[in-house]
């Protein structure tokens, strides 16, 4: 197996997940961290299994490489992210108004912050891409 960044990342998630889980079982943290630890552990193991299969199975490797480099897949992924962003903005704005009317001001404010953050990310990304291309 050649040097593969994703293998190291998977191992990192496994180790971090195991540490968090063991830490909780030793009675040092609450269940939130152990839950997160177990989730990271599972993700790490699944990722590692996929990477091992990638390196051992030539047919699987070819399929994965084609999928990753396929320009239509990239186009679809970019479009899907754009749609997700638009949808988030739309649903977020509706939720802000509805929650404000319902008197849930704190939740409404939190959502409005995330909508503003998304707009800032969009603007920064747009300016960056504008300079790049």
């Amino acid at each position: 197996m050649k040097q593969d960044k994703r293998v190291y990342i998977s191992i990192f998630w496994i180790v971090l997940g195991a540490v968090l889980a063991i830490w909780q079982f030793a009675g040092n943290t609450d269940e939130y961290w152990s839950g997160l630890g177990i989730a990271l552990l599972v993700v790490g193991v699944l990722q590692l299994a996929r990477r091992i299969k990638y390196h051992r199975n030539a047919q699987y490797r070819e399929n994965i490489d084609t999928q990753n480099n396929d320009e239509r897949n990239r186009f679809l992924s970019a479009r899907a992210w754009a749609w997700a962003g638009y949808l988030y903005m739309l649903v977020g704005c509706i939720a802000i108004i509805v929650l404000q009317i319902a008197g849930l001001r704190e939740i409404s404010q939190t959502i409005s912050f995330t909508v503003c953050a998304l707009l800032i990310f969009y603007w920064v990304s747009y300016m960056f891409l504008h300079r790049k291309y």
């Binding site: 084609t66 480099n69 396929d70 320009e71 239509r72 897949n73 186009f75």
Partner: protein, 66 residues
């Protein structure tokens, strides 16, 4: 943008999945190209035209789209 990929490919007796492999894309991409659902990048269009030993204009029919 319309194209003659399916016609030329079939004329050469190449299957969709074989052609996809040669072009380094998925079979679904070739299928979408042939049905006109997806327009290729200039790189893929060039690669396809080069493989068919044709010009891009001979494979892809440009229509003014507004």
């Amino acid at each position: 943008m319309k194209n003659r990929i399916e016609e030329i490919r079939k004329g050469k007796g190449i299957k969709q999945d074989e052609f996809a492999k040669l072009m380094g894309v998925s079979r679904q991409t070739i299928s979408s190209l042939e049905t006109g659902k997806y327009n290729p990048s200039i790189f893929l269009a060039y690669k396809i035209a080069k493989y068919f030993e044709m010009t891009i204009e001979e494979v892809f029919i440009f229509e003014d789209e507004i």
